[in-house]
């Protein structure tokens, strides 16, 4: 259980860094041409490799979980005869396509689009999707997809800001202002979809809630509240003072907390909400 939760969490973290990093880099290029392109080769290939390894590990462990055994036949049946497996194959195809885009193209838009697919495809097999009203996977799946994309924009955007801080970008305050405006919308959507998900789990069940699920959910919510506090301090207190050193420290802390939150979300997807 711990292994599959870790593989799932790492896959989502890598996919979020890929999507958010490429999306915010594309936004920077379009809105702030004065800022030189961000050098993202090392983090993007690192995230790509983690997505590949963690994605394959997740698929192998999920096949073992489904069949209660693991051999080549189970792997093939899992990949071809289950929704999760078919989406896994689609995600691997998207990763190959993404590698080609990284190698051959300089822009970020197409890469952001492919990374978005990497991030949202697993939403169709999430707890939110399978618990959709009247079996309409699209309802819960869409909510989960919006939750993942907005979280990805937040975390991946913070990574791009960290790269700009590291190279001592002279126009960092402009970049911060742009990120802050877009992240505000992303975080609002993130919190709304997260609350709907959480309320559906907490109030939509007849049985008693499982303590491990509640503990992980509580820890995740607590960390998100700390992240929101740091973002609010950055936006409303430090940005007007142009205190970019403190902002950089807070943003790095926020990024670290975000990574822990995503790993906790990986565990939540494996835990049974109800006893």
């Amino acid at each position: 259980m711990a292994l599959i939760a870790a593989a799932r969490g790492l896959y989502f973290l890598a996919a979020m860094l890929l999507f958010g990093g490429e999306a915010f880099a594309a936004l920077l290029r379009a809105r702030l041409p004065a800022i030189a392109p961000v050098k993202m080769a090392a983090p993007r290939w690192a995230a790509w490799a983690v997505a590949l390894v963690a994605g394959c590990a997740w698929a192998g462990l999920a096949a073992m979980q489904m069949a209660d055994a693991l051999d080549s036949q189970v792997m093939v049946r899992s990949a071809t005869d289950t929704l999760f497996g078919q989406l896994f194959l689609a995600r691997m195809a998207a990763l190959v396509l993404l590698a080609a885009v990284f190698a051959l193209m300089r822009g970020h838009r197409l890469a952001a689009l492919i990374a978005a697919a990497l991030l949202v495809l697993p939403a169709a097999t999430s707890h939110a999707a399978v618990a959709s009203p009247a079996g309409f996977i699209a309802i819960g799946g869409t909510l989960d997809a919006v939750h993942l994309l907005t979280a990805g924009f937040w975390i991946g955007g913070l990574m791009v800001l960290a790269l700009l801080f590291a190279r001592k970008e002279p126009n960092i305050l402009l970049a911060l202002s742009l990120f802050s405006d877009w992240a505000l919308v992303a975080v609002l959507l993130l919190v709304m979809t997260g609350m709907i998900d959480a309320l559906q789990v907490l109030l939509g069940n007849k049985g008693a809630m499982a303590p491990p699920y509640l503990a992980v959910l509580g820890a995740k919510l607590l960390l998100v509240i700390v992240m929101l506090g740091l973002a609010a301090v950055n936006k409303f207190k430090l940005m007007p003072k142009a205190d970019d050193r403190t902002i950089a420290r807070n943003a790095a802390f926020e990024l670290g907390l975000g990574a822990i939150v995503v790993l906790l979300a990986g565990a939540l997807g494996q835990l049974q909400p109800v006893l």
């Binding site: 069949a67 049946r77 999707a129 399978v130 079996g135 709304m192 789990v201």
Partner: protein, 110 residues
């Protein structure tokens, strides 16, 4: 948005997460005449490749019974069962890849 949230809450199923056995015919511990079919209904859509059920008699022998896995149900079609105790052992996997399993018994009366 608030309306959407309320709609989702009202329509929420009773079993978020893993596929659970909701009901069965015959019910667990029921005393029935030889059933024409044994139907197990689950809380979520099943993955047929990894879901199924078997039937054993009181001596623990596996009975050869055709089984069909539908969207959220497993159906066994036994031949006429002799009076006695029987156990249905099932395993169900939902789209979320979680495997749930269990068993229940029923008795066939003359």
């Amino acid at each position: 948005m608030r309306k959407l949230a309320l709609l989702l809450l009202l329509a929420a199923t009773s079993a978020l997460g893993h596929a659970k056995l909701v009901s069965s015919e015959p019910a667990a511990r029921a005393k029935v005449k030889s059933p024409q079919q044994i139907k197990l209904t689950f809380s979520e859509t099943l993955e047929p490749a990894f879901s199924g059920a078997t039937l054993t008699d009181a001596a623990g022998r596996n009975l050869p019974v055709p089984a069909a896995v539908g969207a959220s149900a497993i159906t066994l079609l036994p031949m006429a069962l002799k009076p006695g105790g029987y156990t249905v052992t099932w395993h169900g996997v939902g789209h979320d890849t979680h495997r749930m399993s269990g068993s229940f018994g029923f008795t066939v009366v003359p």
